[in-house]
């Protein structure tokens, strides 16, 4: 086999040429004959009963296809975890973007007027709009007590810890909702015929989630539902669960119309109605010794799930498991809760709960440092998890990670110490206050606990008639590099040139269920399966005596051609098997939460302008250990892109809510960073490898979302000497903080920068 490694090389992005020439086909670029355009009539109230629906004058309603809940052939729900979210509300409304009716017409220009002409009478009921109201049960809006899910993680004995503590440090931290803001809005096309069943093409992350949802909704067997992913213009978790809803709507219209139906959301509908990052509140109470060692603590982590369960239990789980950060806790109690409110359901967004709880942990570490009188560097160094020690779920760290070494390197490349000293001197004068902030964190790769075992993913590799190979997975490309990295892995495994490998379009008729494209699992988990399925192809050819070990690419191609000519279709499959020695207890929430973790130390340098209260991130160092870097250029792109979203999460992006409805659903008033707002983001990798991943890869996609917010807010606190514990941290918040600090100097805790 060839000794030229393809893994580790920055080969050209598989679908890159089509993207830079504008030839890639996204769902809105697709047109089918006789296609209608669909739209969604949504509720105008956050909670209540539908009393009457009437269709107003001035519209020829006979020209429209109209679908309501009564037209649903199967179960009126979007099947996911709790199956509590209706596809179309029939009588009860639980949030202000609840779909009630669907309309379709050949002329899309007629839809807005028709939408306005539908009037719905309601019997409004009081809603719940904050986590606190939900916890107080001032009204019951879901289940018995507004709680979707709770987890309790307990380690050691907290009882004696508080008396032993030299310091007890408390803090409360919160993070806001964040819109994924992929630049391609959500969209789907559905077509139906009674022989083939329903087919949908769309912008999506998880073809088999939609497949499952449509089977239940349309009461169709698996083979009568086909889901095809088109090129997808960004997702970040935002196209994990809601595309099932849009596919369901397009499918219902297509069944009713007997014609294909396209539904493309405009930006405002996409922002208002689809999922966002869960708002969170975290309370820490930590017992600390005089030497700055954490003795134990309580962490109370609560997220706002919105009106339906959707993915909240899983987001909560990841947030809870990451809540203790990369530190050693001799004892800890983590109480996690996802509560219901009358807002559209919150969902997956890169990091999936971890950015929320890690923001709290890393702000809290600076608070502990201040209380004990240690530097932010030293407090972290003294508490880092070490190999042989156990995490909060009692997972023993077996890999040789040295977080102290990561920290040292990050300090060095950011020039932390000399800058910090210089800024402290400089900050006595002038209106530009500079500060430095650190965040140390970890991110578990793959599904949590027994998740990968339940998923039981399958991957195929096909030897084609022309002697090239094709990878068959439902893992989707939406910018992160799935196509490229999985092709590299197959090429490496078979000793073939990268160009000899292609990716099948994710189409449930064609590809097996390799699991959802989420949780930083694609390169690591799916990649390993691709490697093994690819090896199956070579082994088959060798065992048929068509090929000898040490073959050349030409010999492979000839053997593959011969095999297909003789035996027909040539495919090898590989199914996930849980590695030995991995133990997880779903009841007690104990054990190996993740097959492996990626580790990181990020350092932010900021300037706060006291004239405008604006914060500029001047330098950003992102240093991480992510196992083997399979594609340096894509990996660096993932880190920079994640940091950029993290900067948005901390300093720019605020969802303004009123009675459960987003008020600023436009790019004009929901502000994400532009090229002028972001610094040069400096990316550094350490590569320890990972036995569980393809060629030593770990997950990479979500990690960079976790660190920027705490690093930046720690830096702002350092610059101003004031503690800020909520994000987004907008100029007006900084102004309020400074005003409050000068008025009641004593009541605000002062940290750093003195």
């Amino acid at each position: 086999m060839s000794t030229n490694h393809i893994v580790g090389q920055s080969v050209p992005r598989k679908e890159g040429r089509d993207k830079v020439t504008g030839r890639s086909k996204y769902v809105d670029d697709m047109v089918l004959p006789n296609m209608l355009f669909g739209t969604t009539v949504r509720s105008q109230i956050p909670r209540g009963r539908i009393r009457n629906i009437s269709f107003g004058p001035g519209i020829d309603w006979n020209e429209f296809v109209i679908v309501s809940a009564t037209d649903i052939p199967g179960k009126n729900c979007i099947a996911l975890i709790g199956d509590d979210q209706p596809c179309l509300a029939s009588d009860f409304i639980n949030h202000p973007e609840e779909p009630i009716l669907l309309l379709a017409h050949p002329d899309r220009h007629l839809l807005p007027k028709a939408l306005k002409a539908v009037s719905i009478e309601y019997e409004p009921l009081p809603g719940i709009f904050t986590m606190e109201e939900s916890e107080r049960c001032s009204g019951i809006v879901w289940g018995e007590g507004n709680v979707f899910k709770t987890y309790l993680i307990e380690k050691g004995d907290l009882a004696g810890v508080w008396e032993k503590a030299d310091y007890i440090v408390e803090g409360e931290y919160s993070t806001g909702a964040q819109e994924q803001l992929y630049i391609e809005n959500n969209g789907m096309i559905a077509a139906f015929d009674s022989a083939q069943g329903i087919t949908v093409w769309g912008s999506l992350q998880c073809p088999y989630y939609i497949h499952k949802a449509l089977m239940a909704l349309c009461n169709l067997p698996a083979e009568k539902v086909r889901v095809v992913q088109m090129e997808t213009g960004g997702a970040f978790g935002g196209k994990e669960d809601y595309p099932s809803m849009i596919a369901a709507h397009a499918a219902l219209l297509a069944i009713r119309a007997g014609k294909p139906v396209k539904i493309i959301y405009d930006r405002m509908e996409d922002m208002a109605a689809t999922t966002k990052r869960h708002p969170s509140r975290t309370r820490h109470r930590t017992a600390v010794s005089r030497e700055g060692k954490i003795l134990g603590g309580e962490i109370d982590f609560t997220i706002d799930g919105g009106a339906y369960m959707t993915l909240s239990p899983v987001v909560l789980s990841r947030g809870a498991i990451h809540a203790g950060g990369p530190y050693y806790w001799p004892s800890v109690r983590i109480i996690a809760k996802a509560v219901a409110t009358n807002a559209p359901p919150h969902g997956a967004f890169r990091g999936f709960g971890a950015p929320q709880s890690l923001f709290a942990m890393e702000r809290h570490m600076d608070r502990i440092a201040h209380a004990v009188g240690l530097s932010p560097v030293e407090i972290r160094r003294r508490n880092f998890l070490r190999p042989g020690q156990a995490t909060t779920t009692e997972q023993v760290i077996r890999e040789p990670i040295d977080l102290g070494k990561l920290l040292d390197r990050a300090l060095e490349v950011s020039d932390y110490h000399s800058k910090k000293q210089h800024f402290a001197e400089q900050s006595r004068v002038g209106t530009a206050k500079k500060g430095m902030g650190i965040a140390a964190f970890l991110h578990g790769a793959g599904f949590t606990g027994s998740g990968e075992r339940y998923l039981s993913s399958v991957v195929g590799v096909e030897g084609c008639a022309d002697g090239n190979v094709r990878v068959l997975v439902s893992s989707t490309e939406f910018g992160q590099g799935t196509n490229t990295v999985l092709s590299q892995i197959a090429a490496e495994a078979l000793g073939l040139p990268y160009e000899s490998v292609s990716m099948a379009q994710p189409d449930t008729l064609e590809v097996p269920n390799s699991g959802p494209t989420v949780a930083s699992r694609t390169a690591m988990v799916v990649g390993k399966l691709v490697q093994s399925a690819a090896l199956g192809i070579a082994q088959t050819l060798i065992s048929c005596s068509l090929l000898r070990p040490g073959y050349s690419p030409d010999e492979f191609r000839a053997a593959c051609q011969r095999y297909v000519a003789t035996h027909g279709q040539f495919r090898c499959w590989s199914r996930y098997e849980s590695p030995a020695g991995i133990f997880w207890d779903d009841e007690k929430y104990k054990g190996e939460a993740y097959a492996t973790f990626a580790w990181a130390v990020y350092i932010a340098e900021v300037t706060v302008d006291l004239m405008t209260y604006g914060v500029a991130v001047d330098d950003f160092v992102a240093l991480q250990e992510v196992g083997k870097v399979l594609h340096p250029l894509l990996a660096r792109g993932q880190i920079i892109g994640g940091v950029a979203q993290g900067i948005g999460f901390s300093l720019y992006e605020k969802v303004v809510w009123q009675n459960g409805r987003m008020q600023n659903g436009q790019m004009t008033n929901y502000i994400m960073p532009t090229s002028s707002d972001l610094p040069h983001i400096r990316v550094f990798f350490e590569e320890l490898g990972n036995v569980h991943g393809a060629y030593g890869a770990k997950g990479i996609g979500e990690l960079p979302m976790d660190g920027p917010a705490p690093a930046i807010v720690n830096a702002v606190a350092d610059a101003l000497g004031i503690s800020f514990d909520s994000i987004p941290l907008l100029p007006e918040d900084i102004m309020d903080g400074l005003d409050a600090s000068s008025q009641e100097n004593s009541s605000i805790s002062r940290i750093g920068g003195r």
Partner: protein, 164 residues
């Protein structure tokens, strides 16, 4: 209603990527829709429909515009360049090559608009500073890349142009 829309249609001529085109469209129809639906040039994308994201960017007589904000009548008699007009046959434009080499395209949805914004920038400033590139692209939003690799791609293309 459908009839009244059709009756308001008028013939509008312009040049797209060097080829003369004639369309029958309502004067206030968005140039973006005419390009995408009538001419099937789907490289220009709709991200926001209100001129914020820049993914529908095209050049109108050499000026970078958001085609979602341009009524098609305004394009009458102009020369339009879309992403489909940048490569010469199979030979990619230096910006397209640089975007591939430097990781400037991830999900690809902002890429056509971003490349046209960069094309426009380099036409006016063949040797831009990094700051000028940041400024020149700030009307085009990208959620994937954090812009760093896009900026590097534009700098690389500029270097290539000046040394070629």
């Amino acid at each position: 209603m459908t009839n009244s829309r059709q009756s308001a249609k008028t013939e509008i001529s312009f040049t797209v990527n060097g080829a003369p085109k004639k369309v029958s469209a309502c004067p206030m129809e968005r140039l973006l829709d005419v390009l995408r639906l009538d001419l099937r040039l789907t490289g220009a994308k709709e991200g926001c429909g209100e001129g914020e994201c820049g993914s529908c960017s095209v050049l109108l007589d050499g000026v970078l515009v958001n085609s979602c904000l341009v009524p098609v009548l305004q394009a009458a008699g102009t020369s339009i360049v879309t992403i489909e007009g940048l490569a010469t046959g199979n030979e990619l434009h230096s910006l397209q090559k640089a975007f591939l080499e430097c990781g400037g395209a991830q999900c690809g949805i902002c890429t056509p608009g971003m490349i046209l914004a960069a094309f426009h920038l380099l036409n006016g400033k063949p040797e831009p500073t990094m700051e000028e590139i940041r400024e020149g692209l700030s009307g085009n939003l990208c959620r994937c890349t954090g812009y760093n690799q896009i900026i590097e791609a534009v700098a690389e293309a500029a270097r290539h142009r000046t040394t070629a």
